[in-house]
Structure formats: structure tokens, C-alpha cells
Symmetry: C2
Subunit: 340 residues, 2 copies
């Protein structure tokens, strides 16, 4: 049983609710008509309709020590990764941040740890204009759960479910860098990374990508009304594109030669390793989105770093076009329970 | 350093934000005028202003195995305690539930555990009309964080900060039962509770109160426009009334003889023990609220089980009137870090 199967099996199938994850609009009991719930289980955020023009996007993201970040990871980096991952879910919907809540569990009331952690939370809260409006602090194994709230145009909100056969598939920035950093991370956390590696600009870039996820908020907003579907790449390109395809009931073909390879990956990894990180590595928090061919020029001219990497297909599979041969992906991506 | 000092020190003092917890209204950067944040750190919920008439109340509540519930606690009871505690924060503001998000961390993907847990989540979600709209499931030490969203009349929302000198202090139902259950809990969880105790209706009542918190949603709604301040009793009467007094910059005098003693506490505990549970025991999730004397008759005639237990005073202390003598409380209540 994978994590996604777990969620789908037990939590998405609500009695008297929709029988599959997706974007079906239901009228929740006791709500006024202008505050209908657009159920979001299975998407990056849940949506509450505030009025005819505006929805509230809500999402929660948990980061557990030893699973999502290393044991003895610096408190500022715990904050940076947790905030970045949570806010990225707003970017994936094209939502503008409104506020966040922090549920923090930590083994002991360590003032030095908390000073650094909270300073970074406040810094990012200001940077992304997402005020910290509430929270809960408890004793226990280190874990951070962040709930993010945003607002978004009800009619243009980016969902996973809107991709159509023939749409272009795009990705922002460069993938694979954060997961490629994992080979240096353990040594870095223990202070055992050799100086030669620490000074290497390419290695620094990989670690930077792992430590400081940058939610693509501006891009998400810009894509409203242009992208037909979107998802943030947290579990890996193939895995998250798979979620988008499942929600949209379509397939996808990725053109491997069109996948962007960053200078750092190109310098440090052989091509086969680099492609593996790009296809299957998580934690990049770039946006993967689909759009009709009529938007191709506008997207290319947008000023954002965006690459067209494939096409939405009929059927339900993701395939890779490599050296003129169509292949199936090696696996479908990160699973917290399987790899835990 | 206590939990509340921690939160106050690091998270309530946001740079460029208000310098103390409370209900100050700030205009958060980037928000439209109709969606101002009414900062709620230090209250039961945060408030986002949706329009001139309606605010969104948001709160997160974490429950950690071995801290908030016993190790090997039954999955349905984990769900019941977590949901009840979280939804109680909406009741304390007088808010009507809109939706909830579930961040679940569990050691392994145990289908039998999840089936029972999720069934109870769905049952309570339906009972309290709070649809499950999102979540995150990860591998790690067992912990449940629930984010609740509700809506409430902006102008009449119940806060901790509105109590005035001379207001009556009221409490709903009976306090001390949930904490009195702790003496049976360990044996019950291990299946070692003697039959004579298991069959005892008073013991059953105490355990029921611990296992199945009942948020006072109807009472909270009814109190809108009547109560001057409110808080739910999760940490203990003296502790939570202390938070209310801090937020309102007032003191309180509790008349110990007017504290309601339930039939179960009266049957099982000596009077001194019973009063100790009532004053300092947590986990009851009753509402403690203040109201002007002009509402006294209306509240007494409301049909809710409500007891008038004291009066708001000038100064900042909580005192107890017992046998004609004014005393100071023995301590101020539960602290997750101190007792953890």
C-alpha cells in the first residue's frame, strides 16, 4: 500500500461525499450557498468558495525529522524547508498567500533552537507575505506541520484535473538538483563535508536547492487563465505528473531530450544519473503545468524560465520518448511509507 | 520556560506585527481590504475577515502519542480525542464549522488501524458538519494535527479579550471528569481494568469524558452577542481562565462552593480531590465565559447546563474564595513541556 493509495482509500472516500479524489463541487451541510466547499482532497489545496469571484485555498504539509529532513538538521533549515514546501501548494493552485498556521512538535523547549527557527519562519513569512496567524506547540518527536491559506480567482484556479489531450507539458526552472544534493547532505549535516566540496559552486547550488525551496508564487499567479492544469513537483516529475494525469484522466509523453539539465547536474553527474534525478527526484518545488498550443508563444515569451517537455496523450500512462524509442518510466516516484 | 511563554516569546512577536498576543486588527501586506487578518495568536482561533459581516476562524491542534493520549490507544479514540479537541476551538469562538484538514503521522501504513481511525473521523465530521477537505499523511511517530475552519459573525465573535471588571464568570457542564479518568486510563488501555471498575457507571462516565470530548458548538453560537469573553477548558479551569484574564487585562475570583461537582466525581473522589480536578484538570472541553449581570437571567434560563462560578475583578490575579477565605491557586495548569 503506497501513501497515495492510503489517502485515497481511507480519507478521500467520505460517506455521502464524492467517491473519488478530484474537484467536484459539493454543497456541504450547514453552509451558506456562497461558502460551498470545492473538495480538494487529491489536489494541492482544498478550495472553499468565498463568493462568486474568490475561493480560499487551504493546504497542510507535514515534515518529519529523519524522513523529510536529516536528524540534527539546522533549525533555520527545518523552517526553510517546511515553509517552502507548504507555500508551494498555494503556488501550484495560482493562489496568493493570506496566512499560515504552524503546528510544531519538538522534544524539549530549547530556546536557542526556537530563536533560530522562529526567525526564519518570520523572515519567510514576510518574504512571501504570508503572516503567521496561529499555531500549536507541543512536546514530542520533532515535526513541523504548516497549514497555508491563500485566495484565488474561483473561475481560473489551477487544478490538477484540467489537462486535455494535445496540451503541451511545461516545467519551470530546473529539476533534480534538490534530490542530487542528498549525496552530500548527511556529511554536511555532520560537519564532515570536505572543504573542496563545500567550496564547489555546483555542490553549493544543489544544497541550496535542497535547503531553501522557493515556491513559484509569481509564476502560479501568472498562469491563471493560461494553464489548463498544474501541480508542484515535490515527489518527482514522473510521480507528480502522474497525479495530474490521474486527476485529468489523461496520459502524458515526456520527450527526454527536451528535459532541461542544470549546469550543476551537468557538471557533477553523468547524463544517465542526471536524467534519473530529473525524472524521479523530489523536493524541487518547481511547477509542472499543461497548456493548449495557443499559449505556446506567450509562455515562451513570459520571462519565466520555462521548458516545454512533452504532450498530454489519450490513455492513462506516462511514457518517455528517448532516442526515438518509447519507454515506460522506471518507477513512479517517492513514497513516504515505502522509503521510510 | 513554559509552553505559553515559548509561544509568546518566539511566535507572537512577529517583526512588523503587533507586539503582544491579542486581537489587534492589522492590515496584512497584499491583502484586499475585505480580507484583513485579525491576528489570533493567543486566542482559540485566528480570524480572517471575509467581509463586513463574516470572519473565517482557523485553528490547528496537535495530539502526540504518549503526551495527549496513551501509547497503544485505540485508533477510534485517537480520532475522537483529536477531532474533539480541534473542533472545540471553533466552539470557543462561537464559530460554525466549515471544514477541516488532517495531518496524520503514523509509524507504518497499517490498514486495520486506518480503517477504524478514518471511520471515526468521518463519523465526527458528519456529526459536527465539518467536512474533511484536505490532509497530509506521512511516516513517523504517531501524531495527529487537525486544522479547523469555521465562520463567525465578525462583530460578535467570542474572544478571550473582552471580559470587563464585574462580569459574571460561567462554566458549562461539569469539569474535572476527564482528568479524573487518568487514574483508570493506563489499566484500561492495557486491558487490565478490573471488571468491577469497568462496570461501574461512574468510572464509565469519567472514561467517556476523556475518550470522547464534545465541543460545545451550539452553546458557542448561542453565546454570540451575550458573552463578553470565552475560552474552552482544555488545560484546566484556572489555567484557561488565566489566559482569558491575561488577554482581557483583568483578574478573577472563583467562588469554590459554586463550582459544580458531577455525580461521578462526588461518588468516586473525596471533596478535596474533586475540587483539585475541577480547578486544575484539563481535557474537559467545556466553555468558560464571562457576561455582564444583565444577561444573568437569560443565561440561567437558556436550557444549557451552565453554572455561575465567580466574578471578574480588577488586578491581574486569579483568587479562590473558599470557606470565607481568599486563597491563591495551587498552580496555574497543565504545561505540555513541564509535564512531558
Amino acid at each position: 500500500v503506497t501513501e497515495f493509495e492510503l489517502i485515497a482509500r481511507f480519507f478521500a472516500n467520505q460517506p455521502d461525499g464524492p467517491d473519488s479524489p478530484g474537484d467536484k463541487v459539493i454543497s456541504a451541510a450547514g453552509l451558506q450557498k456562497d461558502q460551498d466547499v470545492q473538495l480538494g482532497i487529491g489536489d494541492d489545496c482544498a478550495l472553499l468558495r468565498l463568493d462568486n469571484f474568490c475561493s480560499l485555498a487551504v493546504s497542510v504539509d507535514s515534515q518529519v525529522e529523519g524522513k523529510h529532513f536529516p536528524v540534527h538538521y539546522a533549525p533555520g533549515l527545518v523552517a526553510s524547508r517546511s515553509m517552502g514546501a507548504a507555500v508551494s501548494d498555494l503556488a501550484a493552485m495560482g493562489a496568493t498567500p493570506v496566512g499560515c498556521l504552524l503546528a510544531l512538535t519538538l522534544p524539549k523547549a530549547d530556546a536557542a533552537w526556537l530563536a533560530v527557527f522562529s526567525a526564519e519562519v518570520h523572515r519567510l513569512s514576510k518574504r512571501w507575505q504570508i503572516p503567521l496567524i496561529g499555531g500549536d506547540t507541543t512536546a514530542g518527536p520533532l515535526q513541523v506541520s504548516i497549514t497555508v491559506l491563500g485566495k484565488v480567482d474561483s473561475t481560473r484556479v489551477l487544478r490538477r484535473s484540467g489537462a486535455r489531450v494535445g496540451d503541451d507539458i511545461w516545467v519551470s526552472g530546473f529539476l533534480g538538483e534538490a534530490s542530487a544534493a542528498l549525496r552530500y547532505l548527511d556529511a554536511e549535516t555532520k560537519g564532515q563535508l570536505p572543504d573542496a566540496v563545500l567550496q564547489n559552486a555546483y555542490c553549493k547550488q544543489l544544497l541550496q536547492r535542497y535547503h531553501h525551496p522557493e515556491p513559484r508564487l509569481e509564476l502560479g499567479s501568472w498562469l491563471l487563465g493560461k494553464a489548463s492544469a498544474a501541480v508542484d513537483v515535490s515527489d518527482g516529475l514522473v510521480a507528480d505528473l502522474g497525479h495530474l494525469c490521474n486527476s485529468s484522466a489523461v496520459g502524458a509523453r515526456l520527450v527526454v531530450d527536451s528535459l532541461p539539465v542544470s549546469a550543476s547536474l551537468d557538471a557533477l553527474l553523468c547524463r544517465e544519473d542526471a536524467l534519473h534525478q530529473i525524472l524521479y527526484g523530489g523536493d524541487d518545488y518547481e511547477l509542472c503545468f499543461t497548456a493548449g498550443a495557443e499559449y505556446r508563444q506567450q509562455i515562451a515569451d513570459s520571462g519565466f524560465v520555462l521548458h516545454r517537455i512533452g504532450e498530454i496523450t489519450a490513455g492513462r500512462d506516462i511514457s518517455l520518448l528517448l532516442n526515438g524509442i518509447i519507454q515506460q518510466p522506471a518507477h513512479t516516484g517517492f513514497d513516504h511509507f515505502r522509503k521510510g
